[in-house]
């Protein structure tokens, strides 16, 4: 990286100091506070820090932290990487990530959906990775059609190369505005936010899956060069070569993240054979998919923040004899509104032992009652496990699905597991 102007150097140093203080005092991982202080000293700091580096921005409603981790792991094959691996995905987090790694020539930055246009402008990123858009925290987030429109405008005004999921119509519509794109058939399980054409509002024709087109204006799924076959765990690259993924991360959602990561690595000149071994080493991401062993039970933690995320989590649940604990909060970071619970179909949980907990467990209880899923109320994971162990001493596994702050509370209760 080229030399920073003096003011930017000072700002970056101050930010690093605050970040280590935050970590040392156990207040957080320091990603946000460090960046906030640095920005006060040098408002153009992000642009200064990004100059001369080849930066990739990763954005989506779901999977951006995991995909950022996969891409960063792959690109370490080339050299040092600056990345915001703790999920601090706004400009303050980007500043901290870049300032902490002044020698890294490549930046891999998870980016909040709303901030993408601004961060793209400031960092002049060379690659923009877009995966999916679906309803999420509607009391504080933008409407997703509006979000897609802003992405589209920002990409039209940039020279960035887009790596995008062609199977999500909103994402594809945004990405089609970019001057260069790699289209990936990464799949889309949750379709309830994309029945309407993003261009004209017509009812999309969506068969045979994954094809989609608008019968009214003609917008259609872009031609893809990368594809994923979940059934065989295989990715096909643009040369027609197939690669087994064999990830440690579970489920179709992570296969989808991985094919996007492989296409992004290719944009940096890495072949799948080079990228995959490093991606396979990842087994959990900031506590997601982590298993903790307590009371002799393996408890797996799954984070699900919105209907699309819950759908993906249900798909990777262990066989029905494994009980599941659901926990829902409605703090600011979760969205104060629990209406989304009604967009999730819980009938798949019938026949499984289900516990509900969290600050909004009554909402969850009514939701399960309506779907005729029997459930029990619990105050904590520990309490549910105690009850389970008493009644089923041979129990060995339990899955936990929780939304954001509920997940962090459980993670903290078990020592901020990674």
């Amino acid at each position: 990286m080229s030399e920073l102007p003096l003011r930017a150097q000072l700002a970056a140093a101050l930010g690093r100091g605050a970040a280590s203080l935050s970590r040392a005092t156990g207040r957080g991982d320091g990603s946000v506070i460090g960046g906030r202080i640095a920005l006060k000293v040098e408002p153009n700091l992000l642009a200064e820090l990004a100059r001369g580096r080849r930066i990739a921005l990763i954005s989506a409603t779901n999977g951006k932290t995991t995909t950022t981790r996969l891409i960063a792991a792959a690109l370490r094959e080339i050299g040092e990487i600056a990345t915001n691996e703790h999920g601090a995905n706004m400009p303050t987090g980007h500043i901290t990530a870049l300032a902490n790694n002044p020698k890294a020539l490549i930046g891999v930055l998870e980016t909040d959906e709303k901030y993408l246009p601004q961060v793209l402008r400031e960092t002049n990123a060379v690659v923009v990775v877009l995966m999916n858009l679906s309803r999420d925290q509607m009391d504080r987030a933008s409407e997703i059609n509006l979000l897609a429109k802003k992405w589209r405008e920002a990409l039209a005004a940039s020279q960035a190369h887009v790596v995008a999921n062609a199977d999500d119509p909103l994402v594809a519509w945004a990405g089609l505005a970019a001057p260069h794109a790699t289209w990936v058939a990464a799949g889309q399980r949750w379709k309830e936010d994309s029945w309407c054409c993003p261009e004209c509002g017509g009812h999309l024709k969506r068969d045979p899956d994954p094809h989609w087109e608008c019968p009214e204006c003609g917008l259609s799924r872009p031609y893809t060069t990368w594809s994923l076959d979940n059934a065989t765990d295989t990715v096909t690259d643009p040369e027609g070569k197939t690669h087994r993924l064999q990830l440690r991360l579970p489920g179709d959602a992570n296969r989808s993240n991985a094919v996007i990561a492989l296409a992004t690595a290719a944009a940096y000149g890495l072949r799948p054979e080079q990228a995959l071994p490093r991606m396979r080493e990842i087994e959990s991401v900031a506590g997601r998919y982590t298993s903790i062993v307590t009371k002799g039970v393996e408890v797996r933690l799954l984070l699900a923040k919105n209907p699309a995320g819950w759908l993906e989590s249900f798909a990777i649940l262990d066989p029905p004899r494994v009980p599941v604990i659901l926990s829902v909060n409605a703090q600011v970071a979760d969205g104060r509104d629990t209406s989304w619970l009604w967009d999730v179909d819980y009938t798949v949980l019938r026949g499984r032992r289900v516990f509900v907990m969290g600050e909004r467990r009554t909402d969850l209880a009514l939701r399960l009652e309506t779907d005729e899923v029997p459930f029990e109320i619990a105050d904590s994971v520990d309490q549910a496990l105690t009850r389970l162990k008493t009644e089923q001493p041979d129990i060995t596994k339990v899955d936990v699905i929780a939304n954001y702050t509920a997940f962090q509370q459980i993670r903290t209760a078990y020592g901020r597991v990674q």
């Binding site: 059609n145 309830e192 029945w195 309407c196 009812h203 989304w340 967009d343 939701r367 779907d371």
Partner: protein, 236 residues
């Protein structure tokens, strides 16, 4: 329909355009509360490219973003099915964007008035601020519903014309204008309580059923009543 031996037809209007905030909850709870009383139900999902059937019993409309709202209004007006159903006395329950478009006029994103379906005598426009948060209101005593609770997230402001009445008086939150919430006219209801308004207010769900099938036996209190109480306590 007047006897409980025939099927209650619940028509969900345009889930592809108007379904943003758990609007599916209203469909599910209405069906459940009917079936617990032995009333068989049928749910009809009507896509924006399909004609709206006129012989339904209860019509549900959900919330939507600006552009889908405009499209839904245009299509409903061109189709005419919802208006004819309302004229023959069907129950209509419309939420948020759905509430605005069943009125006489509503505002687009520049606040230009656009024509609605015209089955509820209200006129909506855009306010200066967005109303986001828990809302509590007391329903017109004539309807026998009591206090309702919900979540609002809208920038609309709605004026009620002479043929309609306010659904409720706001206790907390904004609703139509900071003093009243929602509107009704015959068996047509509009409200800013978005998404699962009926799950959070079992008495409101039962009102819609009574309007269609006559007297219904009460149900033993369950999680719906618990949630209703919990949200009222949290909001006040």
């Amino acid at each position: 329909m007047s006897d409980t031996s025939s099927t209650l037809r619940i028509v969900w209007i345009y889930p592809d355009l108007l379904s943003t905030y758990g609007d599916r909850g209203n469909v599910l709870i209405l069906r459940r509360r009917a079936e617990l009383r032995g009333i068989p139900t049928e749910v009809v999902r009507v896509h924006s490219s399909d004609p709206v059937p006129e012989e339904g019993d209860v019509y549900l409309l959900g919330g939507g973003e600006d552009r889908p709202q405009i499209l839904a209004a245009q299509r409903l007006r061109a189709d005419g099915g919802l208006k004819r159903a309302a004229e023959r006395g069907a129950v209509v329950f419309a939420v948020c964007a759905g509430y605005q478009i069943i009125g006489e006029t509503y505002g687009d994103d520049q606040n230009n008035p656009l024509p609605g379906v015209g089955i509820l005598d209200v006129r909506s426009g855009r306010g200066d601020t967005r109303a986001v948060g828990e809302i509590v209101a007391d329903v017109d005593p004539a309807l026998g519903v009591g206090r309702i609770t919900g979540f609002e997230n809208h920038q609309g402001r709605t004026a009620i014309g002479p043929a309609a009445r306010p659904l409720s008086t706001t206790v907390r939150g904004v609703g139509n204008d900071g003093t009243t919430e929602g509107a009704y006219q015959g068996t047509v209801i509009g409200t800013y309580l978005h998404g699962p308004a009926l799950p959070r207010n079992p008495a409101l769900a039962d009102l819609l059923l009574r309007w269609r099938v006559g007297e219904i036996p009460p149900l033993p209190p369950s999680w719906g009543e618990r949630l209703h109480e919990e949200r009222l306590a949290a909001a006040l």
